[in-house]
Amino acid sequence: MSILVDRNTRVLVQGITGREGSFQTRRCIEYGTKVVAGVTPGRGGEELDGVPIFDTVREAVANTGANCSLIFVPAPFAADAILEAAYAEIPLIVCITEGIPALDMVRVRRYLRDSGIRLIGPNCPGVITPGQARVGIMPGDVFTPGMVGVISRSGTLVYEAVAQLTALGIGQSTCVGVGGDPVIGTTPLDAMRLFAQDPDTKAVVFIGEIGGTFEQEVAEFIGKGLHKPVIAFVAGATAPPGRRMGHAGAIIVGEAGTAQAKKRALAQAGAVVVDSPAQIGLTTRRVLQERGII
């Protein structure tokens, strides 16, 4: 019925006592997410709204059986926090933090490579399985349960796309914000592979952006015979080359990084490409109707 997280996911929050950490933890709990522990070094033994706080991730896991970590630790210390969670063998790590140095993430990715541990992010809104678990920072009331998977490099564009879907009565199986950095734990292709195997995801909305070649990777996978419709939008058609558009990964270096090249690759592979971000919902409905899915 979903990928990555569901109502049984036991979430640990690293950086739970920080301003955003505590605000977002409360929102996760309100949404129904099972938040079982928090970690803030030096504040073990305290509680946040009944959630026990530990000094270290290892202790938190031993005491609560947490199997997913949600990280709000500031950028200079975030790579260390991810590695602490990985060392404690937490199988799913979601890192929200923005602004982590790219080479820190290179080392993290290298360590995670053969570990079987999955990292979502960093610089992402997290993962939500509507009606079950919100492991991140999304505005929960925009989402509704259903059968469309959503993958996005941008956080706020997930909300934008999902709001359009929900307004048309189209629900979502799971929405994954993979993050806007050049080096991320789970790429759009990885997320697409998970949706391909999920029997309850009938179609996927993929929101890419300029920079890198993640979109081309997804296109290649679709072209090899993904039997689910993909509706794609690529942000940044109007961005000038060589300038970083906010996200560290959103910078056009060479032809492959342009929105035009990415859209072309996706369209050629069989995805339905949307030019206007305001048309994502309507286009998805049309595709679902044409394929007899709704």
């Binding site: 993430m105 809104p125 505005p139 929101i207 060589g242 558009m245 560290a248 206007s276």
Partner: protein
């Protein structure tokens, strides 16, 4: 972050990568003195943050100190227009004066981050002196790549492999390996996003020198490199972008259109620009206000946009997740109070704490044009910029 060629070369030297002898100067007199000291023909190179200087007349060969002085007089204080500067060009404030090289062969070497493999990558080519993009397009077989596993870092064998791909012989192999080791160490130790030497010249007397160098840094890592941050040259940046930085708005890029945008999130900001374009307009900027819930930052965003004389309408598009819509609404109201907002303002709000945000805007009684969704917001902003009225 970008730095000048002379700064990049100083870094290269520190990391044991040989560069031509030379010095930076700010006046024709200094240029002449340096040329005299070098005692041979020199090149005089404009120091601006843009490529394509040669074609634009920013790089000149001079066989005597007097010629160097004359060339300097012609370049200094001029606005150099290259394919990377935009039509307004960039003012030349400094020149790098270097020994002119007797070139036997021009090579290329760079260290970049390979995003797909999430590892540093060393790239070399025997087609130096031309834009590497062009080589990649016309003769990709002349580019050789090797990924460096961060678990072991750069190893001499990697350098020897690439040197052999370049067809290097004898002592030059050793020099090339040493230079590549230095470039890699610079890349990693200073958190670079690019270290590029083009051309990497073998001189007729057998020296291997970085004739031109470009070093870019990861903005996210500047906090741990105060020495690198100190190399920033604000004169090379758009004054409004520099002001935005000083006001805590780091994600602002000025563009050439007339619709100012304030958006939360880089992706939505880009999509908003795209939507404006689809509706027939042109964005004046990219501005990601970020997720920090701070009224002052909203006011400051208005401050930047209202001081841009090109802006004829402002579009606020906020989809609150981590950012709270009520804080943004408060900021909009404050901006109208504290600043002279003379252009129409279109506001689209959604997400976290929407109801409270709506209430704040409605009670303010301000002449704000409201929009329910992104398409409507873009349409209304384009109409407003053209001086048309749309029902709010």
């Amino acid at each position: 972050m970008k730095v000048h060629e002379f700064q990049a070369k100083e870094l290269l030297q520190k990391y044991g990568v040989p560069v031509p002898r030379g010095q930076v100067a700010e006046s024709p007199e200094e240029v002449e003195a340096i040329a005299r000291q070098l005692g041979r023909p020199v090149v005089v190179k404009a120091q601006i943050h843009a490529g394509g200087r040669g074609k634009a007349g920013g790089i000149r060969l001079a066989s005597t100190p007097e010629e160097a002085r004359e060339a300097a007089g012609q370049i200094l204080g001029r606005r150099l227009v290259t394919h990377q500067t935009g039509p307004e060009g960039k003012l030349v404030r400094r020149l790098l004066v270097e020994e002119a090289l007797q070139v036997q062969q021009e090579l290329y070497v760079a260290v970049i981050l390979d995003n797909a493999q999430a590892m540093p990558l060393i790239m070399v080519s025997d087609a130096g002196g031309i834009d590497i993009e062009e080589v990649a397009a016309t003769s990709p077989e002349r580019i050789h790549r090797l990924v460096v596993d961060p678990a072991i870092g750069f190893q001499p064998f990697m350098g020897r492999y690439l040197a052999s791909k370049l067809g290097l012989r004898g002592e030059t192999v050793k020099e090339a390996v040493q230079a590549m080791a230095g470039l890699y160490r610079l890349f990693v130790e200073k958190d670079c996003s690019l270290v590029e030497v083009n051309p990497w010249v073998i001189t007729t007397d057998g020296r291997l020198l970085a004739a031109d160098a470009k070093v870019n840094f990861d903005d996210n890592a500047l906090f741990r490199h105060p020495d690198v941050a100190a190399l920033r040259d604000p004169a090379e940046e758009d004054p409004l972008e520099v002001e935005a930085q000083s006001l805590g708005i780091s994600n602002y890029v000025r563009l050439s259109g007339n619709i100012g945008c304030v958006v939360n999130g880089a992706g939505l900001a880009m999509a908003t620009m795209d939507a404006i374009k689809m509706a027939g307009g042109e964005p004046a900027n990219f501005l990601d206000i970020g997720t920090v819930n701070n009224v002052e930052r909203v006011v400051n965003s208005f401050r930047i946009l209202t001081s841009d004389e090109r802006v004829k309408a402002i579009l606020i598009n906020i989809f609150g997740g981590m950012a709270r819509v009520d804080v943004i609404a408060e900021g909009i109201v404050r901006a109208f109070k504290e600043l002279e907002v003379r252009v129409p303002v279109v506001v689209r709000l959604a997400g976290t704490n929407l109801a409270e945000g709506e209430r704040i805007l409605s009670q303010s009684g301000l002449p704000i044009i409201r929009a329910g969704d992104l398409g409507e917001a873009a349409f209304k902003a384009v109409a407003a910029a053209q001086g048309e009225r749309t029902p709010s």
